[in-house]
């Protein structure tokens, strides 16, 4: 509902508040952006709507307090009101300003908790992506696609090609199909990192010794960018996340290509012989 309210605002004004969406969706922030990136997954939509709702409530509260303060300063300054009153109690007023905030909080808690449970995990995952944090790059594994495995490392500034954003581009983006429930399993090989993509409302620590689970279903094809969001050492600012979301059939083509491309990857299969055998087949 609130998004519809926002739609009433002229497009030019709205453009300031949200990143531009066009045919090739590219989800990263833009200069002087004032509001969240556009939501591109069911959880992100819920979180986005919640934030619009919270913003409205919070702006009203701030303006209310500001208006009260201005009125008080005009009406009760020492010139306007030389003799102060001695009132120090008003039970009704005190009950009201305790009860009303409680009601506001209840009204906030309901959509907030709904969004929280929606974003937590999926029960019917169609595929799984494993994300592993390393100092200072990400490793991705596709256990349902013959354990395709590769590292995703930032592209240095001097090696950037035309159109690649600085500090956000990686050598191997992670590919995902759109409209698919993807289970995400996150862990780390060294310190705590955090795999975060704002437009998909994903933000979860990769924790050494643990596997954290969440999910995503991307609405439309495009490029989705994010950055490591937990201080992880010297190059914390230089391990971006780049998701390329493809239609399902194109994703299948990518999988076939990737099986070949990453088969002889140094970082790929470190253990099981089964995978090495398959890799051999693929190379031939």
């Amino acid at each position: 509902m609130l998004k519809r309210l926002f739609a009433l605002i002229p497009a030019g004004v709205l453009g300031l508040f949200a990143s531009v969406a066009n045919a090739d969706t590219v989800m990263r922030s833009k200069p002087w952006q004032l509001w969240l990136q556009d939501p591109k997954s069911p959880s992100a939509e819920a979180v986005y709507d919640l934030n619009v709702y919270l913003l409205v409530i919070e702006v009203v509260i701030v303006l209310f307090v500001l208006a009260l303060m201005c009125y008080i300063l005009l009406r009760f300054n020492e010139k306007a009101n030389p003799v102060p009153s001695k009132t120090t109690h008003n039970t009704l007023l005190e009950v009201v300003w305790t009860a009303v905030p409680i009601l506001i909080l209840v009204v906030i808690a309901v959509p907030s908790l709904k969004a929280l449970y929606l974003a937590d995990h999926t029960t019917d995952a169609e595929m799984t992506l494993k994300v592993t944090g390393n100092q200072w790059y990400w490793s991705y594994t596709y256990p349902d696609h013959d354990e395709i495995e590769f590292d995703s490392i930032i592209i240095e500034e001097e090696d950037l090609k035309e159109g690649q954003p600085r500090l956000l581009s990686v050598d191997n983006p992670v590919y995902l199909p759109v409209g698919t429930n993807v289970r995400l399993l996150l862990s780390s090989n060294d310190v705590i990192h955090n795999w975060a993509v704002p437009s998909l409302a994903i933000k979860l620590d990769t924790m050494p010794g643990r596997t954290n689970e969440t999910w995503v279903s991307i609405n439309e094809p495009g490029d989705y960018y994010g950055m490591c969001s937990e201080l992880c050492g010297v190059n914390h600012g230089f391990m971006p996340i780049h998701i390329k979301a493809l239609p399902k059939e194109e994703f299948a083509k990518w999988v076939a290509k990737a099986k070949v491309e990453f088969a002889s990857n140094d970082n790929a299969p470190k253990s099981t012989t089964v995978r090495l055998a398959k890799a051999d087949v693929a190379t031939r």
Binding site: R28, L36, I57, N77, A115
Partner: protein, 536 residues
């Protein structure tokens, strides 16, 4: 008013010689002054660090700091210095020492010599902390010191150990100070000043001291575990040997969340005194105010994991912490509205302390509502670890605490020094500072909403605009800070002499009944407060 005799008790104004007076001091006013001076020195250190960070972040790309470990060290040290060596010493050690005994009509603190060791442990802690940043590679862990990043595998060398020792020593200092304040407040109030007649500043310090006493030992325990992990082969936080890095986060934030109330509650107390004085009205809803602070203290101990929404807590746990965290908005709302109601019907005089108190209320509300957003674990899926969080805690904890300290400084400098601050210059300082900090921190909401992570030395080009504005704000704030030291210099050098009660009938607490500057010894005979109205 309450005690004419003690007010002009000049024959007890005998001070020891310089070295004895300042190094071996057992006088609560001198120790308070030492704390305030230390806080100001630390503020310059911590401020220079943040200005250097803002210079680096003024434009995308690398400007000055090409050693990113050093960038992280600056981020870490800035946080530690501001929290442990600027705000806490000024509020609790400085104003608490100076004015708790004066406000309750006590001759000094309960344990004057323990007071001395509290201060010198703090000074030692500050030196250890600065050494930690200068030795080896420095601790680039952030002030939260999360293992495994802070473990010996990823931070070899002695710098993190120095940081741990600095916090241990500063923590011991605070625990001793807290015990001293609690005992003083419980045992040394003037006859007739019941708990429910204490000024709200004393209430605030009492609750703060209790929080310190409960929270700091948990930090000390966690720090000791980290120290033995690093040096003696234990594995409390090492997952490879069966430990758990999340255990650290639980322990740290069980201390860390009460810590933010430790920082802001004394400011609440100062603001209550100032609002009441300059509205010439007793505080509205005195008991509600006192117990709202107590409630904030209690609830503050059961919300810690809202700092940990992204570590992989179960969804039900996050739901609980969301609900519990939002509850804090209720007592905080009571305080805001009670301050407004105190002003309502008053006869408001806009002296500089009052300007700061009004700015405090407004900025605290701004920071408070972003806190409601951040309380939601679902909203945190896009907010966590972004500049939105940085903006939030700089408003509620950084700015509000600093504004409370400025308010207290202008309110009490006449009592402490016997001299009045220069009016025009002080108002200029107020406006420059307020404009500066808002240009500095408000744009960070926008870069955070757009997704900019914290603690990064360089950022994607899209964030350039807001970051540049933020850095301009940092420069204006720097001017405001320099102006403050000019005000301080002029006040102490050539300020006008002030009357014993310079604020007139609105100032009803006991410190205004003694001479200005307050004599070396005050209230050697307890003032009789029997039957007096709450000294609010």
């Amino acid at each position: 008013m309450a005690n004419e005799a003690a007010a002009h008790d000049h024959h007890d104004d005998h001070k020891p010689a310089f070295w004895t007076r300042w190094l071996c001091s057992t006088n609560h006013k001198d120790i308070g002054t030492l704390y305030l001076a230390t806080s100001m020195i630390a503020a310059i250190v911590g401020g220079l660090m943040s200005w250097y960070l803002r210079l680096e972040l003024a434009e995308p790309g690398i400007q000055f700091i090409d050693d990113f470990q050093f960038y992280n060290v600056l981020v870490t040290a800035h946080g530690f210095v501001m929290v442990f060596f600027v705000v806490m010493p000024a509020m609790i050690g400085g104003f608490g020492n100076w004015f708790v005994p004066l406000m309750i009509g006590a001759p000094d603190m309960a344990f004057p010599r323990m007071n001395n060791i509290s201060f010198w442990l703090l000074a030692a802690g500050l030196i250890l902390l600065i050494m930690s940043a200068l030795i080896g590679d420095g601790p680039g862990t952030g002030w939260t010191v999360y293992p495994p990043l802070s473990s010996s595998d990823f931070h070899p060398g002695p710098s993190v150990d120095f940081g741990i020792l600095a916090l241990h020593v500063a923590g011991a200092s605070s625990i001793l100070g807290a015990i001293n304040l609690i005992v003083t407040i419980f045992n040394m109030r003037a006859p007739g000043m019941t708990i429910h007649r204490m000024p709200l500043f004393v209430w605030a310090i009492l609750i703060t001291a209790i929080l310190l006493l409960l929270a700091l030992p948990v930090l000390a325990g966690a720090l000791t575990m980290l120290l033995t992990d690093r040096n003696f082969g234990t594995a409390f936080f090492n997952p490879a040997e069966g430990g758990d890095p999340i255990l650290w986060q639980h322990l740290f934030w069980f201390f860390g969340h009460p810590e933010v109330y430790i920082i802001i509650l004394p400011a609440f107390g100062i603001i209550s005194q100032v609002i009441s004085t300059f509205s010439r009205k007793p505080i509205f809803g005195y008991l509600g105010m006192a117990y709202a602070m107590s409630a904030i203290g209690v609830v503050g101990f059961v919300v810690w994991a809202h700092h940990m929404y992204t570590v992989g807590l179960s969804v039900d746990t996050r739901a609980y912490f969301t609900a519990a965290t939002m509850v804090i908005a209720v007592p905080t709302g009571i305080k805001i509205f009670s301050w407004l109601a105190t002003m309502w019907g008053g006869s408001i005089k806009l002296e500089v302390p009052m300007l700061y108190a009004l700015a405090f209320i407004f900025l605290f509300v701004v920071g408070g509502v972003t806190g409601i957003t951040l309380a939601n674990a679902s909203a945190d899926l896009v907010m966590h670890d972004t500049y939105y969080v940085v903006a939030h805690f700089h408003y509620v904890m950084g700015l509000a605490a600093i504004l409370g300290m400025f308010s207290g400084f202008y309110y009490w400098i006449g009592k402490m020094s016997g001299r009045q601050y220069p009016q025009a210059l002080s108002k200029l300082q107020f406006w420059v500072f307020i404009i500066g900090v808002n240009i500095l921190f408000f744009p960070q909401h926008f870069s955070g909403l757009a997704g900019m992570p914290r603690r990064i030395p360089d950022y994607p080009d899209a964030y350039a605009g807001w970051n540049y504005l933020s850095s301009v704000g940092a420069l204006i704030t720097a001017v405001g800070t320099i102006l403050f030291f000019v005000v301080l210099w002029k006040t102490l050098r050539s300020g006008e002499k002030v009357a014993d009660n310079q604020w007139g009938e609105g100032a009803t607490t006991l410190e205004w009944t003694v001479a200005s500057p307050a004599p070396f010894h005050t209230f050697e005979d307890s003032p009789d407060m029997t039957g007096k109205a709450p000294a609010e």
